[in-house]
Symmetry: C2
Subunit: 569 residues, 2 copies
Amino acid sequence: MHYQPALDDIHFILHDVLKAPVQLQSMRRFADTDADLMRQVVDEAGKFVADVVAPLQSVGDSVGCRWAEGQVTTPPGFRDAYQAFWRNGWPALACATEDGGQGLPAVLEAVLFEMLSGANHGWTMAPGLLHGAYECLKHHGSEELKSRYLQRIASGEWLATMCLTEAHAGSDLGQVRTRAVPQPDGSFSLNGSKIFISGGEHDLSDNIVHLVLARLPDAPAGPKGLSLFLAPKFLPDGQRNAALCDRIEEKMGLHGSPTCAMRFEDATGWIIGEPNRGLNAMFVMMNAARLHVALQGVGLLEAAWQKAHAYAQERRQMRAPGPRDASQSSDLIAQHPAMQRLLDTQRVWIDGGRVLAYRTAIELDMASHHPDAARREQAHRWCALTTPVLKAALTHQAFYGASECLQVFGGHGYVREWGIEQIVRDARVAMIYEGTNEIQAIDLLVRKVLADGGAALATLLHELDGELDLSRAADAATSGRFAKLNQLTRTLVEAARSNPVLPYALADDYLRLLALALLGWAWTGIEAAAGTDAPRWRAPSVLHTRVLPEFDMWIGTLTLQCQASSAAK
Amino acid sequence: MHYQPALDDIHFILHDVLKAPVQLQSMRRFADTDADLMRQVVDEAGKFVADVVAPLQSVGDSVGCRWAEGQVTTPPGFRDAYQAFWRNGWPALACATEDGGQGLPAVLEAVLFEMLSGANHGWTMAPGLLHGAYECLKHHGSEELKSRYLQRIASGEWLATMCLTEAHAGSDLGQVRTRAVPQPDGSFSLNGSKIFISGGEHDLSDNIVHLVLARLPDAPAGPKGLSLFLAPKFLPDGQRNAALCDRIEEKMGLHGSPTCAMRFEDATGWIIGEPNRGLNAMFVMMNAARLHVALQGVGLLEAAWQKAHAYAQERRQMRAPGPRDASQSSDLIAQHPAMQRLLDTQRVWIDGGRVLAYRTAIELDMASHHPDAARREQAHRWCALTTPVLKAALTHQAFYGASECLQVFGGHGYVREWGIEQIVRDARVAMIYEGTNEIQAIDLLVRKVLADGGAALATLLHELDGELDLSRAADAATSGRFAKLNQLTRTLVEAARSNPVLPYALADDYLRLLALALLGWAWTGIEAAAGTDAPRWRAPSVLHTRVLPEFDMWIGTLTLQCQASSAAK
């Protein structure tokens, strides 16, 4: 079976839980984005995903991308699907109308990309970088560059890449060595090698626009000596630029996306933004890019759950405990308690993760477009604090949860034809790219939480607390977790003063703790919106009996480690 | 880098922690198995594994097994390595001397297979079934069958398979449909299709001996109507038997091992043991087979750790917190606290897992060969209770821990050339085969613990308690965990009386709880043996701060669920 967009669930979360239309209409830019329009866009997107993109999931893996003499051929059907995608206007969904876009809110793009990732993670990598490139060019590009490239990128007619990583410079971009030498005509000549460039070369679009991190002559060493350049595959005069693909990587999965080793050999490029401010120009899109990866996590986990759920409803093995259907000699896998629990656990993360990720997409727009400065600041706070949490926690759950779903199939799960092992392999990369999950954790704890002594986090938790109804048990428990989290954060602020290494050792656990607190909070919103007569939306018992109890374990171990650190001083 | 057998670690655990030679010499059969002999065998085995088997790890994955017209070709080098393996006597290590074996203890075979699995999981699948087939035939085969096959299997000259699973009968063997019809000459004619048959067809050995589960005419339905048959690829007269391979599966990993769909078409076979007692004949080898899979877990995790550890000692990325080496612009990955912790966590499981698995191998021999009936019973108890725990917990950790090791490589971990993603893919299957980990958990809780009201477990924990030195803090904490485990077990026995479904829902968590209790216990043994001046064997701080605290979380959630179940009645 192919992935099916979970339209009812998505509508429920957008409208009933998050009240997205009302929220968005507080911004003039989205005054016309009413509930009907949102439903219509989501339904149309779901149709495109199901009809065009989902059927290419398996061929993307089995055939994969092929490299020959510098050219990359994508799997059969990929180019046609991409051409249909951009011609139907999907990449331009959330681009400004003045750039040829539809000016719709980011949350609709979020829904689109969640569905695309669930349907076909490999194919989705290609358009996945478009919006970031669009924002980067829009905010930092010269008028001339924008006039040549912005609309082509907004529409998706030309695809884009981010050429950051080099063999010796992965997480550590400060070590980038690619050089850019100014030319008399105002362009730059780029020389250097990049690796892990998703979509560095392919046949999906007629041109490819590379955003390249490089170093000007005499630039300072380290990250503050990096500048950003735009180098297209084909120059404006139609000449092939020397942005060359030397090979594509053999990977664990994601075979539908070519991961290219690129060589820039006197390639022509133009600077984007100020000299030595290249990272700054790229970081404008970082929260959005990380949120996209978090949404990949939701989409992949939904896809894995769908497969396992369908199999469990169809395959009989052994007798389950409890009342039996005497007409059968064995029971459905879904009737075995261990399997129910495993499937329910994934639903906890999918539904709760969706609430948090969609909310973040709404806050991204709030941060840019809300008329009230205090509301914009509040939105910035939400995005800064929750984005690394969601990127790490939801990609973690996508991989480990998809692996649990594989278990439902028994031996069949390990065999390619069922497609579940592909999801496990594909999902693994999302824990690494766009900043490894460990880097997200350090970003959260060191840069976002401890930097101001925990003040911003305390404010965020206070705001979320205000959305709770403390007469409900789950809401009161959520509030209690927030209080414990604040207390622990204070302990950690204190301990970090005497032991500055400590936060680096505890960051992953702290991120997990915050993820669990937010997950519990998200479910209170789901249950409040559903009321008591919507069994589909009643929290599975595993949420309270198995998932959330982990919160107290981390509180305990983190406190223990803070105390041990203080005692050692 | 290829896998390197961890000989020093293995010797330390065998000799210093477990005092294996003294233990084994309590049995007449192993009177000559002194420390020197054990060291010598382990060192020789390590040399063979490192020189012959480990170098074939990568080709096993990249080339894999190929099927054409019913024939299976294994990857280049596989046959030569296997021929050297059996001619050097390795399969016969733990077989009885009267069968041409060396009569050495099972724990040496355990060490051999742990190393083989770490070096090359795919290749190791072929000889992995030999010892089980040997035991099965030895204890249940007719004299005629034994005279024809036992020595060939003991020596490994002919490889063996277990033909159990059918498309509709995976975990649920009672549904097996393959039929066996008696022939006038005392043989049986076998007809039916089997799937997931490891090594069902290949070019490693000159003959293949299939053990086939099938149903006699008029046999009762279900598991009590199954008989076991031996059907060789080549009959004694040299004729090709109709045990045919229709295809091999495309899998997530383990490409070095052909997973065959077999068709028996009037194939000739002979019965092993009594009619309708086939499962009984196979179950004789179940504890040993499960222990082998647990040892695969240890080997695979050691292999993953070795790769990640080496990479972390060599690759520099970013500045680590704390004191800096000013001559470098970035620090080794090993200096980053999150990476240290991740690597240390795997060591906790590798070293502790090794202690538990080797001890189980010793207890397997005790159960069969110790002169004292009470000691044999004690050994039976150990094996019955710990084997499912080790199979599930150590294969779980192999996959999830190898995935953590992959994370150390960043983007490079996702690329094939580094070999770490192969370990992750290969390791995944061990959570499924030889009884899924969920089935291990039900076996443990329902069949082994609750069946006698927790008495056997309480006795085991009491025995382990007796090996502790309560003046040490870690030992006292271990003893405290045993007490909590006993208390919880009593609660569960009580709750299961009114709600018989409950144990099936809680079995996985209960298994995890017992695994953590045993892991803590194993580490007390390591620390006691090492003394205070052996930093290599000091428990990493993660054991106490991150790994063992999970124990109390499960105590909490399991207690909660028992209470909720009682309240609902």
